[in-house]
Amino acid sequence: MSEVTSSASDFPTTAFPTTAKVVIVGAGIVGNCLVGHLARLGWTDMVLIDKGPLPNPGGSTGHASNFIFPTDHNKEMAAITLESQRQYVELGMNNTCGGIEVARTPERMEEFNRRMTSAKAWGIEASLLTPTEIKEMVPFINEKILLGGYYTASVSVVDSLQTGTLLRQEAIDKGVLQVFATTEVMDLETTDGAISAVVTNKGRIEAEYVVIACGVWSPRIAAMAGATIPLTPAVHQMADVGPIDILQQSGKELAYPIIRDMDTFCYERQSAGSMEVGSYAHRPIFMHPDDIPSIEASALTPTELPFTPDDFDQQFEEAIDLMEMLGDAEIKYAINGLLSLTPDANPVLGETIEVKNLWSAAAVWIKEGPGCAQLVAEWMTYGYPQMCDPHGSDIARFYPHERTEEHILARCAEHFNKTYGIVHPREQWASRRGMRRSPFFAREEALGAVFFDARGWERPQWFTSNEVLFEKYPQADTPRPAEWDGRWWSPITNAEHLAMRDSVGVVDLTAFNEFDFTGPGAMAHLQHICVNNVDVAPGKSIYTPLLTPAGGFRGDLTIQRLAPDHYRVITGAFDGGRDNYWFTRDLPADGSVTFTDMSQSLCTIGVWGPNAVATLAKITTVNGKPADLSQVGSPYGSVIDALIDGVPVTMFRISYVGENGWEIYTRVEHGLHLWDSVFEAGAEFGIIPVGIGVYAVTGRIEKGYRLMGAELESEYNPVEAGLARPKVKSADFIGKAAYLAARDEPLAATMCTLSITDHTSAAGIPRYPVGGNEPIVTLDGERIVDRKGRVSRVTTAGAGPSLGKFLLLAYLPPEHAVEANKLAIMYMNELFPVTVERVGSKALFDPEDARMKS
């Protein structure tokens, strides 16, 4: 590895600047990589400051263990990590040593099968090892306590400080960056809601953009401008123990693979003659950003806090069990190192929602540093990242209650010990529940609802009271014998599905967000954001994708036109924060559009099924007369104001489950009355409550409906998703040029519906994939990658009870996107045969949509 010494421009002789295009605060892995990437994308007039000295200003980068295990079940994090590792390699800062995750429990061995599957999806070379094979690679390990291992040859240790130095230097050498160390931010100034200046101990810089890349200090800096960056500094304990003979004799920094002792949440990583032992097993230990000591007051650095050995003793014992030689090694250096944790364990990237042009590049670990920096640089340059869809990292994803210290600390405390945990794709949070409850909550609880968390909302996933439906629908009672497959799932969902398709069911949709746009500029504002034409008659609605400037999916939602100057945007719980930001960031300054977030004011139920209209017709009036809810009187897509048993409601004829019926919106205070009235009217039809298991999975997948964040991401466009309309509106909109180009180019991939044709595993047990990015492969087990480099993988998996099939959604390239084509799904490291049932968006169930439009 080459060394770059500080150049003269690290310590400029010029005066402290008074203006800059962009000021980046923080010269850790993220800030350094960010200035390098911004320089590559053509940015000039940049200033990078840090309150510490260079090259190690004392943040988390300086004490990181610096290793990369590339396998991640999460697509976004896997993509960012792999891109980061590629950049470390490119800079010559990646020392490949291999890594073995070892298992002490059968559950972990099963998790390794899942990891093999994710490795397949992302193209990572990996293999399973027997204890003997582990011993051959790591002679000092006690293989007798192990059941096996998961080996990744590409695991590496990187030089994060030097990587940052190189990228920083690249920007300096281009003449586009000035760097000032020992420069502390004292204040951030804003003007008209936008960042305008950074006040430091060396002077004030007026800046058009400011990026906060301050790691554990980020919330403190953001608060100076009135912005929030939801993260907490948290302790990760690490001890360097040695000297150890066998490691010294290797004569290398890294002669042996890094060991992750997954079931004890610890790792052992060689560092020349000693071993670094790190732990995610100890109690969660948090610190407030304001309490982190100054550089001068720190015994080591501000993020290397005094070691608390009591918290580590159990891990020491377990480490000695695994490697007996560690017992005689001396504890030379041990710290409570600070790193950043967020409520959902993902980074916090993007423009802050509170202050324009104030950006966050925080909660980033070494393994994903260069990639996150590139992603943010692209975002700042192009208006949206191009590397991968950022919805899991987007700072706008957090709702107000998720930005509180109470929420951050509770969720971080809950997931900290899951850092090496086995986390189910449907895993539910235990903390901070009951934060948002619909007015129907009491009724749902009485009906035995099993509540899932939807960004604070308690939503019934299924109702145990519906278990009686098995008598009528015995075919619904299809248990999933593998515990993993059936975790956070119930066959009651199948029964609810069939009952709704037979008669009528009610779904609580209160978790929806409703954004009202009113005023003379409302239509033009929405036209600019939406793909489809919003200039429909009042009382009609619009389904529309929202695109990124590059033509990928940014959103997917419906809009009601309630009046000529009044639109209501309806979007789901999981993208509400991001959509709110997207729709409101560039509201016209002239006041011609007024935005009102109605989400907290309105509650919603969906009433669907062949008897939905008959149920509602009994109690619904318009202008004092019985409402005409028929397809003739109120065609699909209609929006009408009505009274239901005297309760003022807005009714929206639409369905995400493929049935005739309505979404009904009313004010929260009327909700309970509405619920009771509908259930009373529907009693004669055997009306039932229906959980989100039907709404979001079984009902949706039978209809092939796409979901933002699953099928719909910025890597894909509406043509590929099968959501392109025959014509493109004349008005301009974000992403239009790219969209027009995509319509003319040959398809690289198409969204398809597949079914599993044989569920039987090698062990003779039927298996049901949970929909966690399982790769769709050829019958020979080869990955399928389209010409844009995107891998075919399951975006949603679920039962289709009305079809008697288990369905999968996945993008396939044209050569495979052929109906009746035979492929395979890899699940838990096994192949199961699948058939392509449908290419494109036409539904498998009721393909002509006759039921919805009857």
């Binding site: 123990v241 001068e296 007051a297 560690l326 017992g327």
Partner: protein, 255 residues
């Protein structure tokens, strides 16, 4: 061979030491604690003497309950017995501390036998009073030498070495004796993982000391004026040569 080492729990600060608002204590809110460096060396010396001559080493501290951490640290590197003279956390003055330690030593010795050698650090890292070891030795009527950087034991005699500007002073003390050890006498070992785990099992004898306050009272702590330095860039590369020459002439390095 019975050896006693007396240690003190002290904060482990950075380059700047913060003082509490009332000016009466170091602000330790986010600081770790350690054993005074001289005393770490005294612990190491005790462990080495026991390794060489057999017997046992005992560590004793007067301090808050949290000082157990320092006792266990000593145990983790090989000391086998630990005694805590538990205070309410306030810093005791040297007379009071010495009286309490003397009383404890006397009680322990009455029960278990005399300590052949009692080691103190030369002075504590925080208050730096240089008094406690001398006072305890005086109370016990035993010889003491401070500033010790070498200890050897043979035939009931402790041979202590003390480097001075003039050369090496060598003292032969008939045991029981007391020594004030200075950093540099040895390189203290780190605890091993096994040592750390074993230290958890060491029983700590807790004694409630009852000595009366002495005459020394803490009035107020004041941080010393900070040394500030500034950097002046003389230029880059060869262009800086003339300025460098000027400066060296000004400093009298060049004439």
């Amino acid at each position: 061979m019975r050896i006693l080492v007396c240690v003190k729990r002290v904060p482990a600060p950075g380059s700047r030491i913060s003082i509490t608002a009332d000016g009466l204590a170091v602000d330790t809110a986010f600081l770790g604690f350690t054993t005074s460096p001289h005393e770490e060396c005294a612990v190491e010396a005790a462990v080495q003497l026991v390794e060489a001559h057999g017997g046992s080493a005992t560590v004793l501290t007067l301090g808050p309950a949290e000082a157990e951490e320092q006792l266990r640290y000593a145990a983790s590197v090989g000391v086998s017995n630990a005694v805590l003279l538990a205070t309410d956390g306030a810093d005791w003055d040297p007379q009071r501390t010495a009286a309490a330690i003397t009383a404890a030593i006397t009680a322990i010795e009455d029960r278990d036998g005399v300590f052949d050698l009692i080691l103190f650090g030369n002075e504590s890292a925080d208050s730096g009073g240089f008094q406690v070891g001398v006072r305890v030795a005086r109370h016990l009527d035993r010889p003491i030498v401070n500033g010790i950087k070498g200890i050897s034991i043979a035939d009931g005699i402790a041979t202590l070495e003390r480097p001075t500007d003039a050369g090496q002073e060598v003292y032969e003390l008939t045991m029981p004796a007391v020594a004030g050890v200075k950093e540099g006498i040895n390189l203290p070992r780190y605890p091993t993982l096994k040592g750390r785990l074993a230290s958890k099992k060491v029983q700590i004898a807790i004694i409630e000391p009852s000595a009366k306050p002495g005459g020394q009272v803490l009035v107020r702590l004041e941080p010393p004026a900070e040394l500030t330095t500034s950097t002046t860039m003389l230029g880059n590369g060869p262009d800086a040569a003339a300025a460098v020459v000027d400066l060296l002439e000004e400093l009298g390095v060049l004439r």
